[in-house]
Structures are given as structure tokens and as C-alpha cells.
């Protein structure tokens, strides 16, 4: 499986922000099986609070979320807190195809965006390895 994650003494910490339960459970399971420590958030507000007060090696951020969408979460974090996308890699993980929204997120320092339906679990792990700090 993923040797990288198992090699480090302390497992890397990933935050999964996803409102669909079936998908959230799936991602958490995939990442945990690969040896990562995983926290999950199911709406924008929780994501904001969690990212404000914790550090992660990677954040997988959905856009369509209840309470606050993913872009708003990023905007709020970068303007109101010490959160920095330079320190914490954030990758958009969405099923939206709207270029404008994604372009906006890129200006906020997002490292990339993945269309969920295009990725199998093993492909997700490859991408995680690519972006994780």
C-alpha cells in the first residue's frame, strides 16, 4: 500500500470536508487504511472552526457544503485567521465543473482541484501523496 504514510513516525493528518455521508465515509476509510490520521467535517462552519484551530498536512475541500461553501470557508480563513494556504496545502475535491468558481479558489492559494467522480480510491491516494505536506 502506501509506504510513505507508514514510514513517518507520526502519521500525517488529513482533513476531509465532505457533506455526502456515503462519500465522506468512503474517503475516511480509504485514507485511514493507507495509514493517515483523518478528521472529517460535514459542513462549511465546522470546516472553518476545525481549520482555524488545528493544523493539517492536507485539506481535501468540497465546494458545495451546507452553512458555508468551500470558497467562502477559504475566504474567511485567509482574511480572518492566521491560516495560510502556503503552510497548509488545500486541494479542492468537488463534482462541480464551474471554471469561474475554481479560478477564484486558485487565487486564494488552492493547490489544485480534483473532480471526485473521475478518481478511483487508489488514484485519490496518488493525488494525496502528490499534494501532502
Amino acid at each position: 500500500m502506501t509506504a510513505t504514510a507508514n514510514q513517518s513516525a507520526i502519521a500525517k493528518h488529513i482533513l476531509v470536508v465532505e457533506d455526502e455521508q456515503a462519500l465522506r465515509d468512503m474517503y475516511v476509510q480509504i485514507l485511514q487504511n493507507a495509514g493517515y490520521t483523518v478528521t472529517a467535517a460535514e459542513d462549511g462552519k465546522t470546516a472553518f472552526e476545525t481549520m482555524k484551530s488545528n493544523t493539517f498536512n492536507l485539506v481535501l475541500l468540497d465546494i458545495m457544503l451546507p452553512e458555508m461553501d468551500g470558497i467562502q470557508v477559504l475566504e474567511k480563513l485567509t482574511s480572518e485567521t492566521e491560516f495560510s494556504t502556503e503552510q497548509t496545502p488545500v486541494v479542492l475535491f468537488t463534482n462541480l465543473g464551474q471554471d469561474q468558481l475554481i479560478a477564484k479558489a486558485l487565487t486564494l492559494g488552492v493547490r489544485g482541484y480534483l473532480v471526485k467522480s473521475d478518481y478511483t480510491p487508489d488514484q485519490i491516494l496518488t493525488e494525496v501523496q502528490k499534494y501532502i505536506a
Partner: protein
């Protein structure tokens, strides 16, 4: 008459008619024209010495098939007549079949007609006794009707009423009235044609606005629907994958096989949603071509290498391009990757085992060509036209069977992307021998004829679209709106 007087009289008539023409041909607004016609005509007739009391304009309403009172000159006699009518002036409508009414029959017979009885100009809307009583109250002795015919169309008629008894008009008087009514007919017809055109134009403008709104709604819907469809598809794909690849128990072969089919179908559905989104973006002109400097040879080599395994699995020989010549381009590599992968993927898909697929590159002065050939069954002439259309389906059994993974949109999207690069895709095929697709892209710095030709076809296409909208509208009018 003295020669001098004759010329003077003639000049008077000419200047009068000229003035009349100027006034009533000056405007296209129907409301203004119909009033100007009666007022100006009355004024000029007075100027020429006619002892005229009332001028009335009747116009034909083709839909209702009646001749309707439209306007009346502003004189005291006219006012009295209108006030004395038992029904409103504009409701005095004479059916076009009521030929006993001289307002109508003068039109049918194209002759001027004279009467001393208002029964002849006001029935059947008015009872004969009411008509005559009105006439007596107003004091008109003679009414003369002239038809208005313009460009062979019947427009209406005009009524000239006098308080004195006239039995016959002199030939000069007839001539003057004919000239005036001809001008009046022309003015009214011009105005009506203009008004119809103006209304049709407004209708089309509104229709176009509505179409644009619907187009935007369609795009928004497709974006939303794509997202909604992708969500459960992601779960299906993900959980199936985990079941097939990471199950805690070994799967029974039949179960594994069935789940494999499910997985492939899920993938196909996801690809279809992706393609539909792409098509929507292309058609909504929201697609972005991010052009960069690139080496087409690198891209084609990469794709060919990726295709080696699927080709081998199918028992096909795959020949990849050899680097030769300058294949530098300014283009969007991701989009071109999509196009070339689609075409070579099709070649591999539709060529039976033991066949051969080759990819070559060629350059000439202005273009770079990617040529993909296969030894497949070839494309039949009747299928050629459907090739680049959306969801064009092949009838051939082998192709249908091989296309279980296809979305039906690949070639349509490829063609659009290549067009947006000012390039072209051509096909050559022979049934039983094989098919060759050629993707041609302009070299950087060449203003390709392709672009000029394409914008011409774009212009022609949009002209045709508007033309079709007009044609369809008039067709629907004829059919009474039925489709």
C-alpha cells in the same frame, strides 16, 4: 378659357397635388397618415375650388373581411355627422360582400361612384331610414366614392361629400380626385407595410430575447444536473472499486464479473456526464482554450505509449510516430490530448484482433497533421454524415458491440476543439479496408484559410438561423400555429 388661364389652372392643380404628396407621403405612422390623408385632401380640394364638406377614409380589414370607417376630416359638417351616428364612427363596418354599398362596390369595380342617398354608403350597419335622416340633418346633398388601389392591392375607399347637388364631375375634376386618391392609397399602403414590418421585427426581437434566456437556463440546468448526477456516481464507482479491489473476502467469479460490468457502466455514465458538460460549455461558448507553446510530437508519442497496453491486450499491432520535422504548435495540450486520445482510442476499439493501428505525423508549409489509420471494418458512406454528430449511432453490429464504453459525443467534441484551434478533421474510409482520420492544425504564425472559411460558415450559419426563424414563423402563421 384663355390659354394663360388654362396654364394657370394646370399649375394650380400640379402644385396642389405636389403639396398633398409631400404631406401624406412624409410619415409612415399609420395613425398620423390616416388623419393627414383626409385633412390634407380636404384642404387641397378647397384650394382648388371644390365646395367640399367632408372627406372620409375607409380601410379594408382583411381579417374581418370588412370595410371600416377609419378617419374623417375636421369640419363642422363632419362633426355633426359623427355625433348623429347611432353607433361609434369606427364601428361603421361594411362587409366586403355587401356590394349594394357603393363604398365596397367602387373597390370591386375600380370605378368612382356618385350617390344622393346616404343609404348607399351607410347600410347595412345603419338602417336606410336612419341613414337618410342623418344625411338630411347634416345637409349633404351629394357623396362621391373613389376606390383606393395600390400596387394591385385593394386598400379601401374615400368618400367626398358636398352640400350642393352634383350630377356629374367634369373630366378635370375626376382626374384630380383620381390623382389624390391614388396618392392616398399609396400613403396608406406604405404605412401599413411599414407597420407590419415593424411589428414583425419587434416579435422577432422578443423571440430572440426569450431564446437567449432559455439558452442560459439550459446551461445552468446542465451544470446543476451534472453536479447532482456526479455525486451518486462517485459513490457507486468508489464502493464498487473497493468491493472489487479491496474486499475482505475473495469474490465468487460470477459476482466479480457482474460487479465488473456494473463498474464499467458506472464509468461510462461518468464519462457521459463529463462529455455533456463539455458539449454544453462548447455550445455556450464558455470553453477556454489555453494556448501554450508545445511540441505536438511529444504529445502524440506520449499518447501512443499509453495506448500500447490496451492495443496489445486486444491483439493489435500499434505503430507510433517517429519524430520528424518541426511539430511546434501554439495550442491547448490538454484539449488536443483529449482529441487525439479519442481518435486513437476509437481506432483501437473498432479494429478487430490481428489488425493494425498506425499514427503518423506530417508537416507542410502551413500545417501539422496527425494521421491515425486502422485496418478496421471501415465507415459506410451512409454513416459518414453521422460521424461528427452527437450520439450518431452505427448500425454495424461489430461497432455497436465494441462501443459499449463510448459516449457518442467524442468525435463531436473533438471536431469542436479542433475548430476552435482553427484546424480541421478529415476522414477517409473504405469499407472492408480501414479508416484514416487526419487532424490538421495550423502552424504558429500562419493566419490559416481555415479560420476565414470557418468564420464565413459561422456567419452564414447564423444568417440561416435567423432566416429559418422568420420562415418558421410565417409558416406557423399560415398553418394557424399548429406544428
Amino acid at each position: 378659357m384663355h390659354k394663360h388661364d388654362v396654364i394657370h389652372e394646370e399649375l394650380k392643380v400640379v402644385s396642389s397635388l405636389s403639396r398633398l404628396q409631400k404631406v401624406i407621403l412624409d410619415t409612415l405612422d399609420l395613425q398620423t397618415v390616416v388623419q393627414d390623408v383626409v385633412n390634407a385632401t380636404l384642404k387641397e380640394l378647397e384650394f382648388l375650388g371644390f365646395d367640399i364638406s367632408v372627406v372620409v377614409l375607409n380601410l379594408i380589414d382583411e381579417k374581418a373581411d370588412v370595410l371600416r370607417r377609419t378617419s374623417i376630416s375636421h369640419t363642422d359638417v363632419a362633426k355633426a355627422a359623427v355625433q348623429g351616428l347611432p353607433i361609434p364612427f369606427s364601428k361603421v363596418e361594411i362587409p366586403m360582400e355587401a356590394t349594394e354599398n357603393i363604398c365596397v362596390s367602387s373597390i370591386h369595380e375600380k370605378k368612382s361612384m356618385l350617390t344622393h342617398s346616404w343609404d348607399d354608403i351607410l347600410s347595412p350597419p345603419l338602417k336606410p331610414e336612419d341613414a337618410i335622416m342623418l344625411q338630411k340633418g347634416v345637409g349633404v346633398r351629394t357623396s362621391i366614392v373613389f376606390p383606393l388601389i395600390s400596387r394591385d392591392s385593394e386598400v379601401g375607399s374615400m368618400i367626398f361629400s358636398f352640400q350642393k347637388n352634383i350630377t356629374k364631375l367634369s373630366s378635370i375634376e375626376e382626374e384630380v380626385l383620381w390623382r389624390m386618391t391614388d396618392t392616398a392609397g399609396l400613403a396608406v399602403q406604405n404605412s401599413r407595410l411599414y407597420t407590419n414590418l415593424h411589428q414583425a421585427n419587434q416579435k422577432i426581437t422578443r423571440a430572440n430575447k426569450r431564446l437567449r434566456e432559455i439558452d442560459t437556463l439550459k446551461d445552468e440546468f446542465i451544470s446543476l444536473a451534472s453536479h447532482e448526477l456526479r455525486t451518486p456516481m462517485t459513490a457507486i464507482k468508489g464502493y464498487l472499486w473497493m468491493t472489487l479491489n479491496q474486499a475482505p473476502v475473495k469474490l465468487h467469479p460470477t459476482v466479480e464479473h457482474n460487479l465488473e460490468i456494473c463498474y464499467q457502466s458506472a464509468e461510462r455514465l461518468i464519462r457521459l456526464v463529463n462529455d455533456m458538460l463539455t458539449v454544453s460549455r462548447i455550445e455556450g461558448k464558455r470553453i477556454k482554450i489555453n494556448k501554450v507553446s508545445m511540441e505536438l510530437a511529444d504529445l502524440t508519442r506520449q499518447i501512443c505509449e499509453e495506448m500500447a497496453i490496451p492495443a496489445q491486450q486486444k491483439g493489435l499491432r500499434l505503430q507510433c510516430p517517429v519524430a520528424k520535422g518541426d511539430t511546434r504548435l501554439v495550442a491547448d495540450p490538454d484539449k488536443l490530448r483529449q482529441v487525439i486520445t479519442n481518435i486513437i482510442g476509437n481506432a483501437i476499439k473498432f479494429t478487430p484482433p490481428k489488425g493494425k493501428v498506425t499514427m503518423k505525423m506530417q508537416t507542410d508549409a502551413t500545417q501539422v497533421h496527425v494521421i491515425i489509420s486502422d485496418t478496421g471494418p471501415g465507415i459506410r458512406p451512409e454513416d459518414r454524415d453521422k460521424l461528427f454528430t452527437k450520439f450518431g449511432k452505427f448500425e454495424h453490429a461489430y461497432e455497436q458491440q465494441q462501443n459499449i464504453t463510448g459516449t457518442g459525443l467524442g468525435l463531436y467534441i473533438s471536431k469542436q476543439i479542433v475548430s476552435l484551434h482553427d484546424g480541421s478533421i478529415t476522414v477517409e474510409s473504405e469499407v472492408g479496408k480501414g479508416t484514416t482520420f487526419t487532424v490538421s492544425l495550423p502552424k504558429p504564425g500562419t493566419k490559416s484559410k481555415g479560420k476565414a472559411a470557418e468564420s464565413d460558415t459561422k456567419r452564414n450559419h447564423s444568417r440561416n438561423k435567423d432566416h429559418n426563424l422568420l420562415a418558421r414563423e410565417s409558416q406557423q402563421k399560415k398553418k394557424g400555429g399548429a406544428k
